[in-house]
């Protein structure tokens, strides 16, 4: 058992020092009825070779994205991650470090988090960001709760542009509380009337940009109305690389910006772990959930970093905390930050332009497919398409799998009870897609839809 350093002779010597006969004696406080006399009748320990074989076998049952033309998005995006990111993450000093409660031995993590917070604030156009949440969905829920706390109101309006998983997670989080979530119907065409739903009870409106169906909107008018009514505008960004191309939510008037950070630094990993980004205005910082790294000085007057404002947090404030979050997504935040540092301002903009150009190219090619129409008239790197009134997108996706293509995400996966969404497919294109990929998709769609 390669992870256990004690040998039998060590154990014997230690038991003698403790003054007990055997290890069982140390478990004497366990009620006898609950003590297991021996190991459970389950598989025994195995070597690396055997374990690796087991995982290789399971991995072999999956169709990995690199083995197929791939057009899936809908909240998780496939980007090229520079090789340096993962090799730096693997450094034991990052990988195997504890939460940086002891700042003298954690300046590496703390400085990286301070840089991360700054980067997040910069790209979202906000003043301050925390050191990460679990993922976009939970960050979205935390934003809604924070908005209620700030405004002392209880109604949370959830736009139909919002990813259904974010809607569901937010609804769950408000369940059994004084707060109330009002989700709007799915909005593939970007026609919903949010303004008309706002009133003096509204704590916040949560919109996603680009929307779940791909559309981009100018949030300035919405921000103006929100602020007039004393509500907060919460903007969710599911694809943070889009921030290299569009005006930031902050510039458009958002009060809280939340995002899923997976696009930068992390693989798709079947959807987890993710990285929740959370940014807001300075004036709300003490209402903010989550950990914060802050700058200070040491006894020699040198600049350094510590976790700070922890009086908001559960280990000090207990039931009055802004959130119960403890372990968050530190290593994912580091991955995000390293990737964004590698990109720099120049690369971040260029990556976004490239993604948009790929999507434009894809739209042009898809226009060759008879009966197919692209729904949003503006988009970043993904958009919903309507495949034809009688067509079920989920079936098309299955047929394209048989051709070795991962074609996109059918809207019916999230909205099974909305027949008008059955023909809708959400397709994404990133820098990973070649022209050949797109041609194969178009050819396969033509064949399948004819």
């Amino acid at each position: 058992m390669r992870y256990l350093p004690l040998t039998e002779s060590d154990r014997a010597a230690m038991l003698a020092d403790i003054g007990v006969k055997d290890v069982d004696a140390l478990f004497r406080d366990v009620p006898a009825a609950a003590r297991l006399a021996e190991a459970l009748p389950l598989p025994r320990h195995q070597g690396e070779l055997e374990v690796e074989r087991a995982f290789t076998r399971m991995a072999g049952k999956n169709l990995s994205a690199g083995c197929a033309p791939f057009f899936m998005g809908a909240g998780v995006y496939r980007h090229h991650i520079p090789a340096a990111v993962d090799q730096l993450l693997l450094r034991g000093e990052f990988l195997t470090a504890y939460t940086p409660y002891q700042p003298e031995v954690s300046q590496g993590t703390l400085q990286a988090l301070f840089e991360f917070q700054t980067q997040v604030a910069m790209v979202t156009g906000m003043e301050v960001a925390n050191a990460s949440m679990y993922d976009g969905a939970t960050a979205c829920a935390e934003a809604a709760i924070m908005a209620c706390r700030v405004t002392k109101r209880r109604k949370v309006l959830l736009s139909g542009s919002l990813h259904p998983h974010y809607v569901e997670t937010t609804e769950t989080s408000l369940r059994f509380t004084e707060m109330e979530a009002e989700p709007l119907p799915p909005d593939p065409l970007g026609l919903e009337d949010l303004l008309g739903r706002l009133d003096g009870d509204t704590a916040c409106v949560v919109v996603q940009n680009p929307g779940f169906f791909g559309g981009i909107r100018d949030l300035r008018p919405l921000a103006a109305i929100c602020h007039e009514l004393g509500a907060l505008l919460v903007v969710m960004v599911a694809e943070p690389t889009s921030l290299g191309l569009f005006d930031s939510p902050g510039a458009m008037g958002a009060d809280i910006v939340v995002a899923e950070g997976q696009s930068l630094g992390m693989g798709m990993n079947f959807g987890g772990p993710g990285l929740g980004l959370f940014a807001t205005r300075d004036k709300f910082v003490r209402q903010m959930p989550g950990r914060l790294a802050g700058q200070t000085l040491d006894v020699d007057g040198k600049r350094g970093w510590v976790l700070t404002l922890s009086t908001r947090e559960q280990h000090i404030r207990r039931e009055k905390a802004t959130s119960n979050i403890c372990t968050n997504s530190g290593l994912c935040a580091l991955a995000f930050s390293i990737h964004l540092t590698l990109l720099g301002g120049t690369g971040f903009t260029r990556l976004a332009e490239l993604n948009h150009a790929k999507a434009v190219q894809l739209e042009q090619k898809l226009s060759q497919v008879k009966g197919l129409r692209v729904l949003p008239d503006s988009y970043y790197n993904e958009f919903a398409v309507h495949l034809g009134d009688e067509v079920k997108a989920a079936e098309v996706v299955d047929r394209l799998v048989d051709k070795g293509i991962l074609a996109g995400v059918p809207a019916s996966r999230f909205y099974p009870t909305w027949p008008e969404l059955a023909p809708v497919l959400i397709v994404a294109a990133t820098e990973m897609n070649t022209e050949d990929d797109m041609d194969r998709l178009v050819a396969a769609l033509k064949e399948t839809l004819s």
Binding site: L4, V30, L42, G272, G330, E431
Partner: protein, 482 residues
Amino acid sequence: IEEKLIFEMGNPGAVAVDLPEPGPVDLDRMGGVRKRADLALPDLSEPQVVRHYTRLSQKNYGIDTGFYPLGSCTMKHNPRLSEKVARLPGLADLHPFQPRQTVQGALEVIDQLAWWLKQLTGMPAVAMSPAAGAHGEWCGLMAIRAAHEDSGQGHRRRVLVPESAHGTNPATAAMCGYSVDPIPAKENGRVDLDALKAKLGPDVAALMLTNPNTCGLFESEIIEIAAAVHGAGAYFYCDGANFNAIVGRVKVADLGIDAMHINLHKTFSTPHGGGGPGAGPTVLSAALAPFAPVPYVVSGPDGLELVEGRREGTKPFGRVKGFHGQFGVFVRALAYILSMGADGLRQASSDAVLNANYLQARLGDVLTPSFDGPCMHEALFDDRFLKDTGVTTLDFAKALIDEGYHPMTMYFPLVVHGALLMEPTETESKEALDQFIAVVRGLAEKAKAGAAEDFKAAPRHTPRRRLDETLAARTPILRWKA
């Protein structure tokens, strides 16, 4: 050498990522909100970035660099195999919404891990999606509240929590709309059963209890506690942060627990990563199982499938996060479990408890153990041994840093004065413990010999010495500004 912030480095136009020319931007498709302002992100080349993060990492301590005697946190060795298999393209390069037939292996990972967690706890169900321990607590309490609401017991709004509990417990209860009522401990560090019984009543929704508790002790009356809680119509939530002490030696189900989260990043050795990602799957009793959140994996006629909505006979309380849980963490945890096996897991908890008792035995004459008798996987001391030395628990811990150790957990649990909580874990060798013991004994003697000034000045050999936390909180600087 001082390491600047990235914002203080670089030169506009440098790149560390070469991307093809995107061609002219199509303004027609941009909704009129093309970026107008410069983001001010710095531009650096790859050599600069690699060196920056390498140097930052060198200012960190990790399990790979030394021993963490941290209580309640189970900082054990992180196997390298886990990192390797988690990066297999067939597991890492999968989209969560790929059609079922293309992800059978991924679903098998989730299903196998769920099977092991149920086997190891004896519980009938497990919610896999919680992202961390506190998230698992919330999941468990949400299931409890949903069950109460379902059975017309929605008026139960009080949750009992021992004073020694992790701060997450009361915070979690509050998130579910519950009020928190503290219960006292006995002199032997366990819950006072009589006091508990006195607090139970028709408005009590649940008891939240950590077991082994945060004093490092097994709640020896736990079966009676569970009976009392159930007898009062409440549920019994167990904080599983200390599961490492009992894996393979105690089945949680035999203790009468209704829900318990499991920290995969503690007990099952996935890396802490400087603060996450973790994973907090939550096992549930038969009474709570119908209320488990979506999604979950079931076996169907065409293989494994994900249930993402409501099914016949279930009443999921909702969804707790995006997608299907911390899959990358699951892979690592399952790799650890398959590597250890039932025999290895039992040996691990045995060695963890042995190591802690060894520390307690070898340090008990110089430090002041808070309780008599064997501890579980952590040894708790208080600051009586520092009395009149002028040295505080904090000073003592910081002095350890200069000896090459991460400090132990300090001032927790709150029920003990100036607590020093040490959890050696099973992956420390006797040799490492002996070295640590010698250092701690040396420091204790030094403190008693009157070297308070030396302690106050520690640490001396770190990249930074003691940092002004008050200044940081009073004048928060939370980001770089030009």
